[in-house]
């Protein structure tokens, strides 16, 4: 069994920890760090009797995750204060939302930028309020800027230099150029208030967003963590809400994301043994490619399977734009860059 596969088994079933030898642990921890799942692993194995060295590494990872969570929630609070009077409540997305809502998916999760969703009509006000409260544009690049404003599902990224944290302001959850176009107004109407001035997406929307984020918003690098999010969300909502799976099906269909949601559910089932109703279970032949891609990491934390990764890189661009525009985009990027290959070498964010 590869270390990446061992990691997924361990996340799904913590009792498997007792069967690992030191070399297996070394590999698992290497993959977990590279896939930004080490904090999650630490929380999953918290309280178990583990080899001393493993316990020490995981203790550090847990402390790191808790500090990261604190900073992420604080950044959300500062954004809330800056936007009070403009946006109330503030809809949080992704990791910050999981942490703020106290969901299982947020346990030990590493959280990067602050992602928020605002109505498209309020973008200008939001932008002005953030700029007035110390945020600045990350880079003034005319091509990227125009591209973002015209086509992307978010403002160009802003950073708060004092706290060195980025904020991504979304007005929908996929690029406007993508063939799938989720209904943004409905996302906002279905938001669930958390109190204290925040909200999250409705639970089915949250899963749909996690799925489109996993497949539609990148080349699946870092995908293992995103798939783990989906597993946790499905388990938690599926347990607690009687009609959850029916609502998820309806919601995915309304957003035109039925296929990606179905695939996310199947992959979560395959890797993390997510309990899935009969209609959602099963495997498709193409799922194998996705599993190969998600597990393309060795025990040194290095990416493996370059051909698979390249295929997904190209695929990610195909998904994001209509072919004509894709050609233009790739042409400009290619002309400007030393070559697209450079990107493949980058670690996931």
């Amino acid at each position: 069994m590869t270390p990446a596969l061992t990691l997924t088994r361990l996340l799904a079933d913590a009792t498997a920890a007792s069967s690992l030898d030191p070399d297996a642990w070394t590999g698992v921890l290497g993959v977990a760090r590279a896939e930004q799942l080490i904090g999650t692993l630490a929380m999953r194995l918290d309280g178990l009797v583990l080899p001393r060295r493993v316990a020490e590494v995981l203790e550090d990872a847990k402390a790191t995750a808790l500090e990261g969570r604190r900073q992420a929630l604080w950044e959300a609070e500062m954004a809330r204060r800056a936007l009070s009077g403009v946006i109330e409540p503030l809809i949080l997305l992704k990791g910050t939302a999981f942490a703020a809502a106290g969901l299982d998916a947020g346990q030990g999760r590493s959280i990067g930028d602050l992602d928020v969703l605002v109505p498209r009509a309020k973008l200008a006000q939001v932008e002005a309020a953030l700029l007035a409260h110390g945020w600045v544009w990350v880079k003034p690049d005319p091509y990227d800027d125009a591209y973002y404003r015209q086509w992307m599902h978010e403002l160009p990224p802003l950073v708060h230099p004092e706290r060195d944290r980025m904020i991504d302001v979304h007005h929908t959850i996929l690029p406007l150029t993508a063939r799938r176009t989720p209904d943004a107004n409905q996302l906002i109407a279905n938001a669930v208030p958390l109190g204290s001035g925040f909200a999250t997406l409705g639970h089915p929307d949250m899963v749909v967003h996690a799925a489109v984020h996993l497949f539609g918003d990148g080349d699946l690098s870092g995908g293992l963590r995103n798939l783990w999010d989906i597993d946790r969300l499905l388990r938690e909502f599926g347990d607690e809400e009687e009609c959850f799976w029916t609502e998820l099906g309806n919601c995915a269909a309304e957003h035109g994301a039925a296929d990606v949601v179905a695939r996310a559910v199947r992959l979560a089932d395959a890797l993390f043994r997510t309990p899935v109703p009969a209609g959602w279970a099963g495997a498709r032949p193409t799922d194998r490619m996705f599993l190969r891609r998600l597990l393309a990491r060795n025990g040194w934390g290095q990416e493996t399977r370059p051909a698979t990764r390249l295929a997904f890189y190209i695929r990610s661009h195909l998904l994001r734009m209509p072919p004509g525009m894709l050609a233009r985009h790739l042409w400009i990027k290619w002309r400007k860059s030393a070559g697209g290959k450079e990107r493949l070498q980058q670690a996931p964010r």
Binding site: E67, R70, Q71, L73, W74, E77, M78, R81, S84, G85, G134, E162, R163
Partner: protein
């Protein structure tokens, strides 16, 4: 002129303060940020701990010396930017 802007500091349990000679080091638990401050900041944080006060309210508790209302307002602005004080119009 009446200014209704109100200010509030975190609860005392949300701050850890350690005196370092003439300075005070503050660990703000909600943000994880450490701040170094000198008088009058610690006094203000204690006075506003967990309750909303206007600048008038502050002046009812304190006599401003070696400075005026404008100086107080600028200190409050700085504390708001640092996240140590929350402001509500």
């Amino acid at each position: 002129m009446m200014d209704a802007t109100r200010y509030r500091a975190p609860q005392a349990s949300d701050l850890s303060m350690v005196d370092l000679d003439e300075l005070v080091a503050i660990f703000h638990r909600a943000s994880g940020i450490t701040h170094l401050v000198a008088s009058p900041v610690p006094e203000l944080l204690i006075a506003l701990s967990g309750r909303w006060l206007t600048l008038d309210g502050i002046e009812q508790e304190f006599e401003l010396v070696d400075g005026n209302r404008a100086g107080l307002a600028s200190i409050m602005d700085e504390l708001v930017a640092a996240g140590l004080i929350e402001r509500r119009a």
